[in-house]
Symmetry: C2
DNA sequence: TACCAAAATACAATCGATTGTATTTTGGTA
DNA sequence: TACCAAAATACAATCGATTGTATTTTGGTA
């Protein structure tokens, strides 16, 4: 039952060999002769020996483990990113500890502590909506843990990020609406502290400016971008004394909330109001009308972020070159923005 | 920069106290006087001391870590289950290492080795489609690691499982089709080695029998239940010399593949063929026609499985009572099966 | 002040593997 | 056979924290 107790010392004792030689043999060191190695490996298999990584990691002060912090595992974008991270890590012999902040700063701080105590070799994260203060992340870096942000990043100096070009995507989405004849365009934005939402908003602003459309502050609505927020937003928009003909939502979920509400009210999308979302959730291609959105591959972002992190883990801290990788994203045109006057 | 090097020995030396006392103070032992504790804790904070879990875990031979193995993280059902597991584990102070088998037995075996080497306290898993041989799982148990299956389980004697009643759900789905006037009903089944698919098939068979409908072997199609398999299956069904009027698919993905193909061919769902799926993926409520399916809450299953595993970890191995928890599942009636003659 | 039990603290071994250094063995050469 | 460099193996410390036992300190009582 309990053959998990076999250690190199047991093998050493049985074979009347020193445990250091056993260790070297099992690590295929050239300092041990083939004959001895074979004998040791045979005995190890016979006894069902499994190396204890805890001991090994402690001695080497390296865990071959990455920590991943996302706001919510079950969101499609994040589970795809995790899949990309896991695959990349697995190939390089790393394990992945997954944690979710559930958008709470307190939980995020606590998770950072736990990962730190477990001595993960690096952390990949997408920050929570509440994260305005970066002290816990700066501390983590000070302790020598490598950190790479993906998607939702922080404005920490000298850090690596894997992002999409939120500014460009925001610009493209908004210009697409303008090209489809929209002139009064609302923007559903996220929490103001997050860079990605700041940049999507900047893209929106730039597109309006390019086309000589005045930015109206009351058309820019910040929220947590949940489905209910989309509903609240669209209600506000509909109560305005003038007619809004386009919406650029900083995520799909809020856009879908708005679409559902508009459907209930009998207001036509895209004829009355054209809508563009952001993220390309699975549901977006299936909903009626299908949602025009910005495609961002979570899998690709996760893979890239993990590759970057692993390359940094190999370097000495002095040799690390921080970089920000911007992945391409593209507008997927669907029915929610396809107007006649296009 | 490198204050990750602070150990209890550093604190001990600075305060001229033994490291064992420091350790006890930081663990709030009653063997250390309040005055000493305060002094130690103050100094620990000052130096930015973080306990090294590797060392602590090695000594205690307990890691407060659970391993989770799923076929694919990004599948909605599994990411929901993982979310449920993570939340439960987090509350009890456990971390979660997530791995995906990608439906490959080789990868699954390797993952089991890795988790075992990392000395996780327990493993929660849903086996891959290729898993026919359970040796690697029996070995894991022999080494004293607790194991709980959820959803896709193995027929290992004396093990704990958290499942839904696949037989009953399969029965309900099939009877629902019969009640909607279907008489020649095909079943899309999964790999034959998996218990869940065996049981769904048994439910299908029992419903047919109850209503005096003969089981035709050529109407039961086994596959990996991907979207393309759904397309292949429906092609086979359409090429039969008689007309099939109902399909019970063992998952939503294959059902959706079939629906899309039928739409292309201009065959009406549910009028010509009624379809029932299984799992209630997000997409299923949104597709046209919306898909009647069996609802299974991944979050609930994950939560229940984690709770069960954690309770077993606390017990001595001799005191463990293995149990199989069957969660309720229910049929969600949508358009894909709503026939006039109902 | 002497004594003593209880409380507080120190000592030392341990979890299992790794690794720098010291010692022994091997096998070739003079 | 003596010698020696190279190869193989053994010794011993170490990674940090924990914990059973031994020792010291405390503070109350006779």
């Amino acid at each position: 039952m309990e053959n998990n107790k076999v250690t190199i010392h047991d093998i050493a004792k049985i074979l009347s060999i020193d445990s250091s030689t056993v260790s070297r043999a099992l690590n295929n060191s050239s300092r041990v002769t083939k004959k001895t190695k074979d004998k040791i490996i045979a005995k190890a298999n016979e006894l069902g020996y499994k190396r204890n990584h805890l001991a090994s990691n402690l001695r080497k002060s390296k865990t071959f483990t990455l920590g991943v912090i996302v706001p919510r595992i079950s969101r499609h974008f994040f589970s795809s990113a995790i899949a990309g991270i896991e695959e990349t890590a697995y190939k390089k012999g790393y394990s992945v500890i997954i944690c979710q902040s559930l958008e709470q700063l307190e939980r995020e701080k606590n998770i950072v502590e736990i990962l730190s105590a477990n001595r993960v070799d690096g952390v990949l994260m997408s920050v929570s909506m509440e994260t305005e203060n970066y002290q816990h992340l700066e501390d983590l870096k000070k302790r020598g843990t490598r950190l790479v942000f993906f998607d939702r990043h922080c404005d920490i100096p000298d850090n690596s990020n894997v992002l999409i070009d939120d500014f460009q995507a925001g610009f493209d989405a908004t210009e697409h609406l303008i090209n489809n004849g929209c002139r009064i365009i609302s923007h559903f934005s996220g929490p103001k502290n997050l860079e990605i939402y700041k940049n999507r908003f900047k893209g929106y602003k730039a597109a309006l400016q390019k086309h000589g459309i005045k930015l109206r502050d009351e058309l820019v609505l910040s929220s947590s971008l949940m489905e209910k927020d989309g509903v609240e937003n669209i209600k506000k928009i509909l109560s305005l004394p003038y007619k809004v003909d386009g919406i650029f939502s900083a995520n799909d979920v809020a856009a879908i909330g708005a679409i559902q509400y508009l459907k209930e009210r009998g207001i036509k999308v895209p004829e009355d109001i054209a809508i563009v979302g952001f993220s390309n959730e699975t549901i977006s291609s299936v909903i009626e009308p299908s949602l025009t959105t910005i495609n961002q591959s979570g899998f690709e972002i996760g893979k890239t972020a993990a590759t970057l992190l692993l390359s940094q883990i190999k370097e000495n801290s002095s040799d690390i070159i921080n970089e920000t990788i911007i992945l391409k994203s593209s507008l997927i045109e669907r029915k929610s923005s396809a107007r006649q006057n296009n």
